[in-house]
């Protein structure tokens, strides 16, 4: 398979292909797979009583009828039993994208499953399984080559399930964010066709030259707080934005009682309302371009704090804003899904920004954020925890959320 080429300019006589989605209906239990796929984990249902893996997700173990089914990290290897290429699938989404390769595999974990199969997979060959979120945002199995080093982007089926920056145009909403330079650099390195950084309050000094020296990087005025500025930006770039990385933030310390309400409102404005304003103007265009070729609109990334999930009493107002942003992001995700556009939330621990200056290490630098964002886009993820503090809080939350609430009192 040939590497993905940059898209040609559009034929103005042709209508932009509207997004169709693969079948998105799932049983409630099947969403255990969605949860794993959202984080890029390979987990399968296993009977807690007898230890047998099975697939598809069941309500009772077929070996012992126990109802205690748990999701467990599973070996991702598998052997192809059989393969075919659907030339004329019944479903419109697949019909448009045919031929579509499908295989039957025997998992190392035990069960047999239907999979989206990479181009070279044939009966007898070894494959590596991944739980991916398809364009409908639902978990599916993708069987890729077992050996590393192959370029997955040569497989159009893989591309359908990811939001790789390769040849795409990216908007980073706040050029002044601590993460913006590293993000721009990483996106250029990942092959982004354009990286546009929005500059709020363009009348304030900004050393744009360091960024614009990178190929394809530009800095344009964009004030997410201003309807007019956002609308003007979308007039120019609405049809030229395939990935948004929302870096807007406004962290100010302060407790629930002692903190400044003005600061909290500013945080709400920056973290919640400003991205809403941008999304309302820009996201409809992205949804409409969700199937606009192999480099159509693909993803919206939010740079959030892990305190969206575990509020810090020392950062009460800002934590509340983060939680609001997270809550709203789920609704935005539902709307974006209509166009097959993904929403990735990066939950960061304390960052290398000015406002975490006195916080203890480890902290999350721009490079870590950038590397997570690019990796998450390449794998089509929905949720990533960036930095050791965020991962620690994630694990603690999974174990005992009440404990986390109490522990957060100590900071």
């Amino acid at each position: 398979m040939a590497p993905l080429q940059p898209p040609r300019r559009k034929d103005p006589l042709k209508r932009t292909r509207l997004p169709l989605l693969p079948p998105g209906q799932r049983s409630r239990a099947a969403h255990h797979l969605t949860a794993a796929a959202a984080e890029g984990r390979f987990a399968l249902p296993r009977c807690a009583a007898c230890g047998t893996f099975h697939f598809p997700v069941r309500e009772a173990c077929p070996d012992c009828l126990s109802a205690r089914i748990e999701m467990v990290e599973a070996p991702a290897g598998a052997t192809v039993l059989s393969q075919t290429t659907a030339e004329v699938p019944a479903d419109n989404y697949f019909r448009e994208r045919a031929p579509w390769r499908v295989g039957l595999v025997k998992m190392d974990a035990g069960p047999t499953a239907l999979v989206h199969l990479h181009p070279e997979g044939i009966a007898g060959s070894r494959v590596r399984l991944a739980l991916m979120l398809d364009r409908a945002g639902q978990a599916v199995l993708y069987a890729g080559p077992e050996q590393k080093g192959a370029d997955p982007m040569t497989d159009p089926q893989w591309r359908e399930m990811t939001a790789d920056p390769l040849h795409r145009r990216v908007l980073i909403t706040d050029a002044r964010s601590f993460a913006a330079p590293a993000l721009a650099k990483a996106l250029v390195a990942a092959g982004a066709r354009e990286v546009r950084l929005g500059l709020p309050e363009a009348w304030k000094p900004f050393a744009a030259e360091k960024l614009t020296a990178l190929p394809g990087v530009s800095v344009v005025p964009l004030d997410l707080g201003s309807e007019r500025s956002v609308a003007d930006h979308v007039r120019d770039y609405g049809g030229k934005t395939e990935i948004v990385i929302n870096t807007a933030d406004h962290m100010r310390p302060g407790g629930a009682l002692g903190g400044s309400l003005t600061a909290t409102r500013d945080a709400m404005e920056a973290v919640v309302f400003d991205p809403m304003r941008l999304a309302q103007a820009l996201a409809p265009a992205m949804i409409g371009r969700g199937a606009d070729g192999p480099t159509g609109a693909a993803a919206w990334v939010n740079l959030l704090s892990v305190h969206a999930l575990a509020p810090s009493p020392a950062l009460a107002g800002w934590s509340a804003a983060q939680a609001a942003a997270l809550a709203w992001s789920h609704s935005l995700r539902a709307d974006l899904a209509q166009g097959g556009v993904k929403l990735l939330n990066l939950f960061c621990g304390p960052t290398d920004s000015d406002w975490f200056q006195t916080w203890p290490q480890p902290k999350v630098g721009g490079a870590a954020v950038a590397s997570a964002a690019v990796s998450g886009l390449k794998r089509g993820l929905e949720e990533m925890f960036v930095g050791d503090v965020a991962k620690d809080i994630q694990a603690r939350l999974a174990a005992n959320p009440k404990a986390v609430e109490r522990e957060m009192r100590q900071g």
């Binding site: 049983s27 697939f55 598809p56 393969q83 499908v102 499953a113 239907l114």
Partner: protein, 389 residues
Amino acid sequence: MARRGYEDVVLTVPVTVPYQRYSVESTAWWAGRALAALAAGAGMSHRDFDGFSFASFSAAPDSAIGLTQHFGLSPRFLDFVPLGGVAGVVSLRRAARAVQMGDADVVACVAAETNGVHTFRYGLENFSRFSQDAVYPYGAGGPNVSFALICQNYMAQTGATREDFGKLCVAMRDNALKNPNALMKKPLTLAQYLEARAIAPPIHLFDCVMPCAGAEAFLVMREATAKAQGLPYAHLLGSIERHNAFAEDPVQMRGGWAKDMPELYAMAGTTPTGIDVVNTYDDYPFVCMMQFEDLGFCKKGEASDFVQAHDFTIAGDFPHNTCGGQLSAGQAGCGGGHMGIVEVLRQVTGQAGPTQVSGAKRGLASGFGMINFDRGLGSGAVILGGEGA
């Protein structure tokens, strides 16, 4: 424990409501035509049917019970078997025991299906949970992709070829040309078969059935009743049914027939060589070959040789799917599982007309159904014996 035979239980009045590719009528309309034909054929009122066994995928929101009021039936035995290709065998077995034990006197077994332009798609979307969770999202909606995967493996394991499939399809088309109700009216050559476009290799165009509207039906009653009505009838000599067999096979290589086949022939007091006419479930020609093996007509893995060694036309040495099968007559949803029973009933009672196999006394019909996830789950077979069988 040895199974008890069906004694004086018989099947009568084979009914096929002629198929249509698409129909604007509802499923209940098709069921109504089938019931009317059964009543006319039996020379009795439909109100005399005290048993009703109904199979359909497209009857929603109704099931069998709503249809009793719809059709003015008042049965004391009621069954709803939306089980696809195995529905016919399941329906017949239950009806036969009900009649044998006196729970009912006359059971109308009806499979009816309509087919609107979008019926097939709606059916796929709501087929089963495993299909919804783990098949349909892979572009494998509809059975073609799933069966392509099974077929590809079957060919690799057994050496079966597309030429084998083609020979079966060409024979079925020959048979269909003699059946005025078959949807396929044009002859098919092996070359045409082989050159057809790929759907999901190794499945090509002529490996696929054509979904259509239609109904199949028959009556189950005691021999004495049939005689009193002056109806030609066939005995149910033997039957088997098995679901989710061989779950341990990574890919389906056999159906439940392989498990129960000895019992089928023992119950019927015959052997594969004692069968005069065979109607296998032909959703795909390789599935026919799997049945030749699993039903004892040849050894496992030798169906290719078997196919090359026999003539499957009506006049051939192994008359098979004499009405043209689903592949050439059409697949009326759940009716596909009844089609073989109805055709074999016609054959062994000498009512098959242009498709009649001369001297057919004993016939076998098999069913196969419900590809829930990665394999067909249900399998069944019956042996019917006409007068002198």
